[in-house]
Amino acid sequence: MPVEVSRATIFVEGKPFEASATTNLLDACLSLGFDIPYFCWHPALGSAGACRLCAVKKFANEKDARGRIVMSCMEPVVDGLRISIDDPQAREFRASVLEWLMASHPHDCPVCDEGGECHLQDMTVMTGHVYRQYRFKKRTHRSQDLGPFVNHEMNRCIQCYRCTRFYRDYAGGGDLAEFASRDRLFYGRHEDGVLESPFSGNLVEVCPTGVFTDKTFKRHFTRKWDLATAPSVCVHCSLGCNTIPGERYGTLRRIRNRYNSRVNGYFLCDRGRFGYEFVNDAKRIRKARLAGHGSTDGDDETREFLLRRAAEAVAGPHQAIGIGSPRASLEANFALRELVGAGRFYAGVADNEWRLTELALKILRGGPARPASLADVRLSDAVLVLGEDVTNTAPLLDLALRQAARRGPVEAVVKAGTPDWHALAVTDLVQDARGPVFVAATHRTALAAVAEEFLLTPDETARLGFAVARRIAGEASPGDLPPELESAAARIARALQAADRPLVVAGVCGGDPAVLRAAAAAARALSNGKRKAGLFLVFPESNSVGLALLGAGSLKDGIDRVMSGEAGTAIILENDLYRRLPAGAADRFFDKCRSAILLDHVHHATAERAGLVVPAATFAESEGTLVNAEGRAQRFFKVCPPPRGVRESWRWLCDFARAAGRREAAGLRNLDDLILAIAAEFPELAGIREAAPPAGFRIHGSKVPRESQRSSGRTSIHAEADVREGAPPLDLDSPLAFSMEGAPGIPPSPLIPRFWRPGWNSVQSVNKYQAGIGGPLRDGDPGRRLIEPPASTSPGFSVDGPRAETVGAGEGLLFVPVYQIFGSEELSVRAPAVASLIPKPVLLLHPDDAVMLGIGSGDRVELEVQGETLSLPAKITAEMCRGAAGVPVAPSGALGLDLPARGKIRTVRKP
């Protein structure tokens, strides 16, 4: 919260220290670097006073030698406060608390998935509880099956309430609760079943012991200290949450959160946490394949062969086009652009989506509303979401908006004197009060739980947005809204205007340019005067913004070039054109294309059609830069070297370019060369140089080790082949080393490969990396914002945005996309755990429309749209707006279609 940080002097063991006066004593002491053990307190969840572990001695004044025991998490910092952490009575009491907690704990550390990074282990050691006096039976529980993501072992529970406080109070989940009482408290569901919250995976990190553990990790478990880790960025949506992937023996084992106070903070969504297994997919492209020749093998041979073929294709008589990718790094896209030439570089994105992406970027660049970060979102006190189902397109934005929904009421409580860290008191005072959050969407979204939601077609949503903008700007309404929406617009406008930090959210996935313009107009109208309005635009993929910043021709233009015969070769970067084009159009394209070269890691329809398939590294085996929806450039680093024969896309492309004799590519030999070339050519992207230190960066001459100091069995890993210890693989592209040797201590924040400090083996060690608990990492949060619009209003977006470009005008039924957190995103659906949760595709229809169309619930219907025919069962629900049918963006759904679009519908079979 943007409060003035008043300071206080506190005395710890008689010595004075400066601390923030707006926090609690535990937070202050941890910020000062003291070790006070704790369980129930969590920096994002606040104080609960339940576990009683953070006890310290508090003295009334200088003369008071007796003092009294207080819980540091419940004690506000006040000037002159005198405490002792080392006081013998406080120590004895803390050891007692640990002994109580361990009374029924199963002591199954050797077989526990939490072992080695267990906060309970750490705290037990820290308090010095080593001798067990409890000699009676332990209480036992039956654990539950909570679905494919989270493993449940209730017998390890220490009843700290963190899980339910996160799941219910922070994330708004309803199906995890505490049951029973006394020493038999049970945290679970009312019955076995899949946890409903899309943020359930955070339980794994929130739980201080092994009750909730990562079930996907369990399937290929390895001891945590044997994992190689590196700083990475999530590739499963446009938010760019910071992650720490862990690898061993060439298998990606798990994803953990990498704290970034401006982006994801302490939490990830389940798609980001559990979608990683596409990297391990058995069907992944690991070998080069030439149509008619089968797959090739042998590193050098393959490489030479590929270079020759690619060079022939590029330099040959048939001109080559490049099709870029919104899920490939800036460096890979740039390398492709260098290979084919800027004029022949096309966006590998459906045309409408590309137009919208460019429009959204233009809006962000134009200002004056700032592109909001997720941290800004969490602190917003009034929100208007237009036409974007963020829970399913950018899940962590949902979590951030839930915090925004509480922000106003929480601030009112804080103003009245209750500190915001005092979670229990705040909850009691806030009750069910929620600040103003309004959502206009084509179908009921999860945010309806904290928002006033309007179910509207995209066209109506745009008109509502413009009406809000006009009212804020003090202009008359054009009168094109029904009365109930007019009054809603007035209400929304009032709420946004009354807020200190209003926020407008929209996105490209909704598919309507008028909605984007309406959002821009509302944000601009709000940005008059002193008020700072935020604008958050969701983009479809992890590097949609980066691709748009590089600029590219539309896919249609690229396709036309091939279809007209002007170009004969297409080099396709990390892309499945069958997701970008209707299947028929894609088929015709490949029929016509003389030579299609695909660089990718996941197998898909395009790989089936490409003449040459080049195995590319995934995010886990390559480095590069992604630009998130906020416009923040963030570098990800490889966790392990690519498998034999696989290389980073950018490396292949640079080599192709050199092999083809392209002079521009002569100097592009490593990642830093590409970064510098991009910065030189695109001033707007110059900031990517500062996203992370270059490869030459050293700490006292050493690189940053990817393996932990605790790594075991280093020399025996390959002993079955060779007892000699081989040299670790070289990494010429980053300051990280594939080794446990290197600079100890805390590296610059973009290079932090894991959170660990002596005595703090769990994720709680992040405290030691922050400049103050819950604040930025010590030398600033990683990433570099690229888009900082002018604060003054720029011309170009009037409140009366042109209405003509509203898509889907015309005859027939309007089909709109319905995104799914599990199912819509290309990579995560290849993770078995995620795949198991993809809902069966259905067509959503409002009951009124269903009656008009003569369609009953469960009827199988056939849609004809954009030349494609889709067959789906119909679901009749009032959770869909009138006047549009919702088509799931998922396999056997709207993939490859450019929705919204109009088309035909007919019933083919009654159930």
Partner: protein, 422 residues
């Protein structure tokens, strides 16, 4: 001797209905206050009377009322909650008042709500007190019918919606903030204090929580004045108290007596002394969560009880005789306390469970010499301030005093490997 609280109570007979209650002078105080006193005057009167909470903690009642924000800017609605979740072992005084004279409580609610300007009142009755709830509901309905409760009471414009809430009931519901959570439909865990209920109570609004017996004194204070009330007691603390006594006494029961009556008088005169063949050994003066005392010549009130190491609590004593095993006695209490722990804070949910298992082992002859040290440590560790609420500190009051007073009995259990009373 004046017995204002129980003057209308005839054991074995149905309580007075509205007509009977009014004929006995009832609702005079409500009329007087609502028609001729300002709310603050009622509070001032109660404060001057020296009335202190009868639920166990003994907080000055008028002072608590003053904590509620008053005036046009005060948050609304304000709530009054009557704590009728009487679940302290050995305690049955509130039941007597609710079953014996429900209109007295209803009148008290009207007066109290008027004083703090509360609009909604909940009477939180434990499920086992079904008869109390039924009688109260009837009394409330009669009062509403007569214009004494509900909308525009006595034409003054003051509104009070009184609701009788039968709770599922837990010991924790008797803790005022646990009660508020339960009323809100949440777990009956205690809340963090501060903020206290007068600032942040039911549904986050200013709320006054008072015990049945406390409230029942209010009509009489309004009728007869603060000085009269102060003079009722023997020791200057004001008012009468419903004392109770159970155990192996000749006539267990509850009696309204001046506050400050001697323990010996309650035992020997009102309870008729010990049963034949049983000798007095000690007693818990105010429910299960007070310290044992062996002294009988002590005034049972807020000031004098601490001088012998215990406290008034609810004022309803449980007597330990010479033929009952003190270890078993304490075990019985600790079982109750451990069972009723809400599970919020570690010392309580884990410490009490450990205490119970240790006492069970001792009682069954499985005790070890180090067990007494473990129990001592728990008494130290479950001190006030170490736990989230007062349940666990209260729970170790009988344990700590038993370890002190009956240590030889504990040691015999361990040494002989059996309970000497069996």
């Amino acid at each position: 001797m004046e017995r204002p609280l129980t003057q209308n109570i005839r054991p074995g007979e149905e309580p007075l209905d509205l007509k009977g209650y009014e004929a006995a002078g009832g609702y005079r105080a409500a009329r007087k206050a609502l028609l001729s006193m300002a709310p603050q005057d009622v509070t001032a009167l109660v404060k001057a009377s020296g009335l202190r909470g009868r639920g166990g903690a003994g907080f000055p009642t008028g002072q608590k009322w003053e904590f509620l924000p008053m005036g046009p800017d005060a948050p609304r609605p304000k709530y009054l909650c009557c704590n009728a979740d009487e679940m302290e072992p050995g305690t049955f005084k509130d039941r007597l008042l609710m079953e014996g004279d429900p209109h007295q409580l209803v009148e008290a609610l009207i007066l109290t709500a008027y004083a703090v300007q509360a609009e909604v009142c909940y009477v939180f009755v434990r499920w086992a007190y079904a008869k109390s709830a039924r009688l109260l509901e009837k009394a409330v309905a009669e009062a509403v019918e007569a214009g004494l409760a509900g909308r525009n009471i006595l034409g003054t414009g003051f509104n009070l919606d009184i609701r009788v809430h039968s709770s599922a009931g837990r010991y924790m519901c008797g803790e005022e903030t646990g009660l508020l959570n339960a009323l809100e439909g949440r777990r009956a865990s205690p809340r963090a204090k501060p903020p206290f209920p007068p600032v942040s109570g039911l549904f986050g609004k200013p709320t006054l929580v008072d015990n049945v017996e406390t409230l029942c004194s209010v009509p009489h204070i309004v009728n007869n004045g603060a000085d009269w009330f102060r003079r009722l007691s023997l020791t200057g603390e004001g008012g009468t108290k419903i004392y109770g006594m159970s155990g192996r006494v000749k006539r267990p029961g509850a009696w309204e007596l001046p506050l400050g009556t001697r323990v010996r008088e309650i035992l020997e005169v009102h309870a008729g002394g010990m049963k034949e063949g049983y000798a007095f050994r000690a007693l818990l003066p105010g429910g299960a969560s007070t310290d044992f005392q062996v002294e009988l010549d002590v005034d049972l009130d807020f000031t004098h009880e601490p001088l012998v190491g215990s406290r008034l609590g609810t004022g309803t004593s449980i007597v330990l005789d010479d033929r009952t095993c003190p270890v078993g006695f304490v075990l019985n209490i600790e079982r109750f306390m451990a069972r009723e722990s809400c599970g919020w804070c570690t010392p309580c949910w884990s410490g009490l469970a450990w205490i119970v298992k240790t006492l069970e082992a001792i009682e069954q002859g499985q005790g070890r010499p180090e067990d007494l040290e473990i129990l001592d440590r728990h008494v130290r560790d479950l001190a006030p301030g170490h736990t989230f609420c007062a349940l666990a500190p209260g729970a170790v009051e009988p344990l700590g005093s038993a370890l002190r007073l009956f240590r030889e009995d504990f040691e015999r259990h361990i040494k002989e490997g059996r309970c000497p009373w069996k």
